[in-house]
Structure formats: structure tokens, C-alpha cells
């Protein structure tokens, strides 16, 4: 069974946490998930196949003209931010005194 500490590490990398009970549930679920994942490795002839990252090659793609289109105003950009100051999103101090 996968160690709980590893699961906590992966959660931390994605910047969130769960409670102990939730980690226990996930630990059990991982057992099944890993068995399912094993099925991927059992496919004959998988070596040498180029991994597919897109459904099909789209030949219709072209870069659009570099023209000014619709854009959001500062007010619109900030409309959903809870803390603002001087037309900017306010966050706790990042640069400590003396670091500047």
C-alpha cells in the first residue's frame, strides 16, 4: 500500500491538504487505482509507440493577425479580486525589508 506520507507530499505539491480520514480513504482507493494502472503496462507492442498528446493533427491552425482586439479594462480584471489597492490585487508583503 502506498504510504500516507507520499500522498501528503503530492497534495502539498498542488498546494492543498486533506484530513487524516480523507488520506486513509485515498490510500485504499490508490490500491485499486494502481492495479488499474498496471493494465496500461500489460499491453503488447507498447514500446516504440509515440505517445499521443492530441486527438489528431489539426492542419487548420494558423496564427491570427497581430491586431488589437477586445481587451478587458483594469476594472474588469479586478472585478473578482477580494483585496485591491491602487488598481492592483493586494497580497501580503513578498519582499522583506532589506531585501530590495
Amino acid at each position: 500500500m502506498i504510504e500516507k506520507e507520499k500522498l501528503k507530499k503530492y497534495a502539498g505539491l498542488l498546494m492543498f491538504d486533506m484530513d487524516e480520514e480523507e488520506y486513509t480513504t485515498l490510500q485504499e482507493e490508490f490500491d485499486t487505482l494502481l492495479k488499474q494502472m498496471d493494465l496500461i503496462g500489460q499491453i503488447d507492442g507498447i514500446d516504440g509507440v509515440e505517445p499521443m498528446t492530441f486527438p489528431f493533427k489539426n492542419t487548420d491552425v494558423s496564427l491570427r493577425e497581430d491586431e488589437v482586439g477586445d481587451y478587458l479594462t483594469v476594472g474588469e480584471v479586478l472585478a473578482n479580486a477580494k483585496h485591491q489597492v491602487s488598481d492592483q490585487v493586494k497580497v501580503p508583503r513578498v519582499v522583506e525589508e532589506g531585501e530590495e
Binding site: 499491453i43 489539426n58 487548420d60 483585496h83
Partner: protein, 490 residues
Amino acid sequence: MYRGKSITELREELDKGSITKEELFSHANTLAHSFQEDYNSFVTIIDKPKFKERESLVSGIPYALKDNFSTSGILTTGSSNILKDYIPVYDATVYKKLKNAGAVLVGKTVLDELAMGGTGTTGHTGVVKNPWDKTRMIGGSSAGSAAAVSLGIVPFSIGSDTGDSVRKPAAFGGVVGFKPTYGRISRYGLFAFASSLDHVALFTRNVKDAAIVTDIIKGQDPMDMVTLKDDGKKYADTLDEDIKGKKLFYIKEICSKEFYKDYLDEELESVLDQFQELVQKCRDLGFVVEEVSMDQKLLEAIYPTYMCISCAEATSNNANLTGIQFGPRGEGDSIEQIMFDARTKGFSELIKRRFILGSYILQKENQEKLFKNAGRVRRMIVDKITEFFKEYDGMILPASGGIAPEFTATSEKVEKLSPRYLILENHLAIGNFGGFPSITLPYGFVKDMPIGVNITGRIKEDDLVLNMAHKIESVTGLKDQYCKVGDIDV
């Protein structure tokens, strides 16, 4: 009187003046409110719409939109606490196109949180119930959009489909669910889940309506790099083309009882029997339908392949949900603590589990074995299906191995390593792996619950898929179906 009517029928009523668009909206709004407590289709019900005079088949027609499409000035939550107060400042292309065509938005529908789920039970405003039986789920993630059409509130709704999120709930709700070719419809303004698999898709109650809506929302969009050049076709105009001699295949390892052994119950047996009856009806229509065989191991790898790719892509796509620029602000003394707190409180347990799986798959030591191998299996599956498409015009399969599950069904009841679960409940993801156009339509009942059949075709042949589905619909006797639950008609 107007409940359960199709786009075509409502168009006629509007054109001859027997009802106005304002009255039609009012009826849909009344239905939406009436069914909300029992079925929970909506996150937001619109009470004061803006009407536009437009010349189009959907002008004045009410519809519902999944709550993961941006609608300027209208709450858009993704059914997640992390976006519970988010009001977009721009419109998704699909919404803009429908607005410009004069369609009238009735509400934003509940989904599985951030579209990651297939049960309709994980939205932050509660579970969506199946109109045909309230003790059962309607499936997801486009749960509310499916229920709104199944209940006859609106004649069409928009959803998104990353693995089967429209085509599976369509089967469970007894309605039509169509996912066109990857890139046929712009995803600009749709919250990304897994970009290489995400499609815009739609629910209607008949195939013609699916063609009508697709005709309006399809087309290339400079705001979505993967969109295809418009094919210039009107799909609604080619539904009656002759299909005699068109060739369909079904996969033996999915449709034969012998492969299910201990997992074959009355429900599955009925699904497969009725499927064979439908296949015969297709032959009577003039289709050539043949059985083909495919490596069972490859089929069993569909679900883990889907999980690897979608969870990995999701971890990256949802990294912008920090509570800083939008969403509830977390607590803490540093920017990291604020984000950590917002994400811990904002995501539910289920999607945290999917994110952690995605993180695991992307760890350096697992990338080759899991992420890259999943990409390899994806290619092998798509290549095999494409090979079949050299000889056949389409693939026909049952959309699911059974009826909509009960809410009380425990995960222990579902044997997650069985071929029934791995293949039969998850094969619709093939349509997302290869971007193939794919449609589900109702074809029967088991225990008074609807079941659906799926037809998938070659990329960019959306017109042919709709044409073939339209013919098949004519022999199911279930065109225009909706659930007549509740003593309400307006």
C-alpha cells in the same frame, strides 16, 4: 402544453404567433423553479432574461448552459466552492453565438465539481437526481443539463464532454447527447479540465435538434487554437440522406455476453439483448452491421488511460484557482499560505483525490511508466478504431452496461477491475481519445429506466454521424422522449 416540445415544434409555434418568446421563457422559468427542489438541475435560474430579435431557428427558444461556461455578469461556479462567487467578465464563444442567434438562457446547470466526475453528486449545491427515478443518479458531469432536457424544461442544453460527460448522462436520462469532432465547436470560455480531451457537447430530445444547435455553435474561433475551419455544411439539411449500404461495426468483446461471465446479471443481459434487436432493425433499414474483434487488454486499458491523461492535465489546468484574482480569499500571512488555505477549503475531497492521482502520475519516476505509456495506449486504441473506420462508416455500441445507478450503490458493489466496469462503463472515452464525433440516443428501457445506444464516426464526418443516428432514431420509437414526471404542464 409546451413542456417537452422540440426546437422544431416550438419554432413553428413562435412563427405562427400562437406563443411569444416572452411567454415561452416564462413557461420554462416556471418549470425550472417547479422542479428545482426535487431534481436540482440548476445553480442559477435566470428570472429576467434579455431578449434579442434574430432570424435563426433557435431565436426565442429557451435553453440551459452548464455552469462551467463563462457568462459575463452571470454567476459561473463550476459547481465548486472555490468559484462560488465568481462572476465572469467575458462570454464563452458558445454562449455568445447562442445569444447572437436569439436563444434565451433559462439557467446555469449543476455539474460534478469542475466537470471531474461521472455521477452528478459532487456539485457544491447538491446532487442532481434522475427524473425517471429520484433514487438514482443521472450521471455526469453534465448532470443538470441532462436533467433539464430530460424533464422537458428546455428543448436543448449545452454541456462539456471529456470522457463521456454528455453521452453517458444522455443515456441515463433517456435523451440525445451529441459530441461533435474535436475542434468543431470553440471551447473559449469553457473551464478547462483536460485540454486534449475536452469537447463542447449538447443535449436535445431528437437528432434533428442536435443538428440544428450544432449548426449554430460550430465554427473556427481565433480564441481557440484547436478549432477546425468550418466545413460549410448545414447538418440539419442532410439528415435524410440515404444510408443504404452504410457499414457499422460493433465490438464483440463489448457486446457478447460470454465476456462478462460472473458479472452478467439481468440488467446487463437485457441491455445486450435489446442492443442486438436494434442491430437487426438497423440491418432492416439498409445498414450493413458486422461484428469485429479487438484486443480485450487494450479495451481494459481505456479507463486507466483516461484517468492518467485527464488527472494529469487537470492538475495543470486548475493551478490558476488560487483565491487571489478570483474566488474566496484564503487566510494566512504569506501568499503561499493564502493559496494553500483557499485550495484546501475550496476543493472537495473527490477532486482532491483526482488531483493527487494526477500529481502521482506526473512525478518523475512515474512519468514514463504511467503518463507516457497512457499516451502510447491512447494512440494504439485510436489507431485500431481508425483502422476499422477504413472499412466501416461508424461504430455502434451500448452506451452503458446498465441503467442509472442508485445513490445508495456502494463502490464495493461495482467491481472496478471487472471487464464490465473497465470496458462497458468507460468505452465512450474512445470518442475523446480520437476526437471522433459521437452521439448517444435512447433505444429502450430496463426496469422502467431508459438505456442509450452510441454511434461514433470518423473525424470531421459529423454530418454522416447525425444522418445515421437520425435513421436509427426512426426505428427506436423514442424520438422526442422526455420524462413526464410531475403533474406540471405549462
